[in-house]
């Protein structure tokens, strides 16, 4: 086991981006802080009662690093900024450091170096003030099997110093309804399916109105219907102004609900920015994109598309794909509607027509130069 001093950096990234993605300016209010458990309120603005926590970022980390025993870096110099009000997708393969980051943000583990601010306040020093405003689902639900679903929620609510015991029953009932567990609330939690446990974990995060929700793999163990419900719930919460920090290894999940995303691999932040920017970066590097036409007359389609300047035309069964031509000076790329009209005019029967959008999976593969597999 190497000494802690001789920390080995992870293998160099194949595509270590020279320029990071559209990255928000780092506007930390003060300089680097020590990792600070027990560093006390020295550097804390210490707002009075009722003052809303300041700051534009729901989460902001500076050089956040966690080295486990033996010097292996689980998280390496993370500079993450999560804008308030965003639905932020935290993306990476299993073992890329997502959960370790979340645990540091929630004050469950100490950072080896760097600092983290949550809702404008330093963590873990200000945990007592920050955490009541944060709902969290960390690495799957954990329940007391011998208690019913409702009793589990009452238990977690009792641990919250700011929760009012007088409204507990109402809030517990509301949270249960919200995740669709109203009917199963009296059942012992050990009899719950994984999906039900996941819902109960979510309900615990929703016991009170939160400013920030940290959801680590929230759709794990859910069936497709459950996944849709959770996504709808996330959108609903975001519409109410709650910042949602959503970690997942499911790219399409992030793509469907998130406004912003960050990508981690091997403990390092590869990129962060809006989902649209992430997609367009890849699209941009690929030119205007690929057109796909589904037709029973592929040969005719190829001829017509060639006339309109498409290159790299390929036929796979009834699908024809080709690169749209670069925009000429002055003129834009060919109008897709015109292309479609031309095909139809030439007697090509068109079943499907559209351009391929870069998915986050494309982004990920392009950024890391590797498949979306478990990090070694």
């Amino acid at each position: 086991m190497p000494p802690v001093g001789a920390v080995r950096r992870p293998v160099a990234q194949p595509h270590d981006m020279g320029e990071p993605m559209p990255k928000q300016p780092a506007t930390g209010p003060d300089g680097a802080r020590p990792p600070a458990r027990g560093s006390g309120p020295a550097g804390t603005p210490a707002p009075g009662p009722g003052v809303p926590s300041a700051g534009e970022w729901a989460i902001e980390t500076r050089g956040l690093t966690k080295a486990y025993r033996g010097g292996q870096l689980a998280v390496d110099g993370l500079d993450l900024v999560v804008p308030r009000g965003s639905v932020f997708g935290f993306l990476g393969p299993n073992g890329s450091g997502k959960t370790t980051t979340i645990r540091m943000l929630m004050g469950l583990i100490d950072a080896t170096a760097g600092s983290a601010r949550v809702l404008g306040q330093p963590m873990p020093a200000a945990g007592r003030r920050v955490l009541p405003k944060v709902g969290a689902l960390i690495e799957g639900p954990a329940l007391y099997g011998f208690l019913s679903g409702r009793e589990n929620l009452r238990r977690f609510d009792a641990a919250d110093p700011d929760a009012d015991p007088r409204s507990r029953d109402a809030r517990v009932g509301h949270a249960l309804e919200r995740v669709g567990l109203g009917a199963a609330a009296g059942k012992k939690a050990r009899a719950y399916s994984l999906g039900m446990k996941q819902r109960l974990g979510l309900a615990a995060a929703l016991l009170r109105p939160r400013e920030l929700l940290v959801l680590d793999e929230p759709t794990n163990g859910l069936d497709p219907q459950g996944m849709r419900e959770i996504r709808a719930l996330v959108r609903e919460l975001a519409a109410d102004g709650t910042t949602v920090f959503l970690s997942s290894h499911l790219l399409d999940e992030i793509e469907q609900v998130c406004t912003h995303a960050a990508v981690m691999a091997r403990g390092r932040l590869i990129t962060q920015g809006t989902v649209a920017d992430l997609s367009s970066t890849v699209l941009g590097s690929r030119g205007p994109g690929r057109l796909t036409v589904t037709t029973p007359d592929p040969a005719d389609a190829v001829r017509v598309l060639k006339e309109h300047g498409l290159t790299g035309l390929q036929i796979t069964d009834d699908r024809v794909t080709g690169e749209l031509p670069e925009a000429d000076d002055g003129a834009g790329p060919p109008e897709l509607a015109d292309l479609n009209a031309a095909l139809v005019h030439a007697g090509v029967r068109v079943r499907g027509f559209g351009t391929e959008r870069a998915t986050l999976e494309d982004v990920f593969v392009q950024l890391t130069g590797e498949g979306f597999d478990v990090a070694g």
């Binding site: 645990r103 469950l108 954990a142």
Partner: protein, 290 residues
């Protein structure tokens, strides 16, 4: 751990009591806790029946003198002595073992089940959670002792005559005063368990396996009990937490011998301070990765 600012917010000093109530309710609802209490309640019944059978056909066996078993000879004359006998029988192992189970599982069990992380992000606060866990364990100490005492009292009343109590020093006191002394003894026995509860809590703060913490605590208890009987170790024995446990018998003297009782309580307080601090130091800085 900037607990002080919490006061700046709406002052809610009672919230820790809410968590304590939740913790106590949960502990006493578990089947494991109820099973432990059932076993403890069964011991006086077994002892009472054994004494009844043993003495049914002959004179009382065993000599008087010092030590717990001495009470057994008195049981046939006065059922109240079954309380003292049962406490003397359960104090060396049964009671501390059940405390070891509850204390050992207190933090490690939550860590093992993962519920610890949700309590901490609630946020329960590490110091508060530790205090609540210790307070719950101490509550269990008292309840467990009272269960033994009450079960013994009921069994004794059913099987044997009740009446004036002859103390170890020979004087007699009324049955009512005897009951008071029995209650005082139960409280002293419960207080004797403070040390082992602190040790169990400390071990529980070290690990994420409830079973390992329970086994370690109980193993340690047995080891210490054995060490306490080895004459060559007499130099260290006054510092072992069970050393003065049976001093509760001194409450049955007139006047009461306070010397050993005070030493016992002082030793328990020392253990609570040392192992409580160690548990706090460990638990408030530990990475919660489970």
């Amino acid at each position: 751990m900037s607990q002080a600012e919490g006061v700046l917010r709406r002052p809610r000093p009672l919230w820790s009591l809410g968590l304590l109530r939740s913790e106590i309710t949960m502990t006493f609802r578990r089947w494991r806790t109820l099973a432990l209490l059932a076993v403890l309640a069964g011991v006086p019944v077994l002892v009472g029946i054994a004494v009844k059978i043993e003495t049914g056909d002959g004179g009382p066996g065993g000599g008087g003198g010092q030590g717990g078993p001495a009470f057994i000879s008195q049981v046939t004359h006065n059922g109240l002595f079954l309380v003292f006998t049962s406490l003397a029988v359960t104090l060396p192992f049964f009671l501390p073992m059940s405390i070891g189970v509850i204390a050992g599982d207190s933090l490690a069990g939550e860590a093992h089940g993962g519920t610890l992380r949700y309590l901490l992000v609630a946020p329960a606060g590490r110091t508060r959670l530790l205090l609540v866990k210790y307070a719950t364990t101490l509550t269990f100490c008292l309840v467990a002792t009272l269960v033994v005492a009450l079960s013994a009292l009921v069994t004794g009343a059913l099987l044997f005559p009740l009446g004036e109590v002859t103390l170890l020093s020979g004087t007699s006191i009324s049955f009512g005063e005897g009951l008071l002394r029995a209650l005082a003894i139960a409280v002293v026995v419960a207080l004797s368990l403070i040390g082992v509860a602190a040790v169990g809590l400390f071990i529980s703060a070290l690990t994420s396996s409830g079973i390992a913490a329970m086994a370690t605590t109980v193993g340690l208890l047995i080891t210490v009990q054995i060490l306490d009987t080895i004459p060559q170790l007499s130099a260290v024995q006054p510092y072992l937490f069970p050393h003065y446990w049976l001093s509760f018998a001194d409450l049955l003297r007139d006047p009461v011998y306070w010397d050993q009782l005070q030493k016992n309580l002082g030793l328990q307080a020392l253990y609570a301070a040392v192992f409580g601090s160690a548990a706090w130091a460990r638990f408030t800085t530990r990475d919660i990765t489970a």
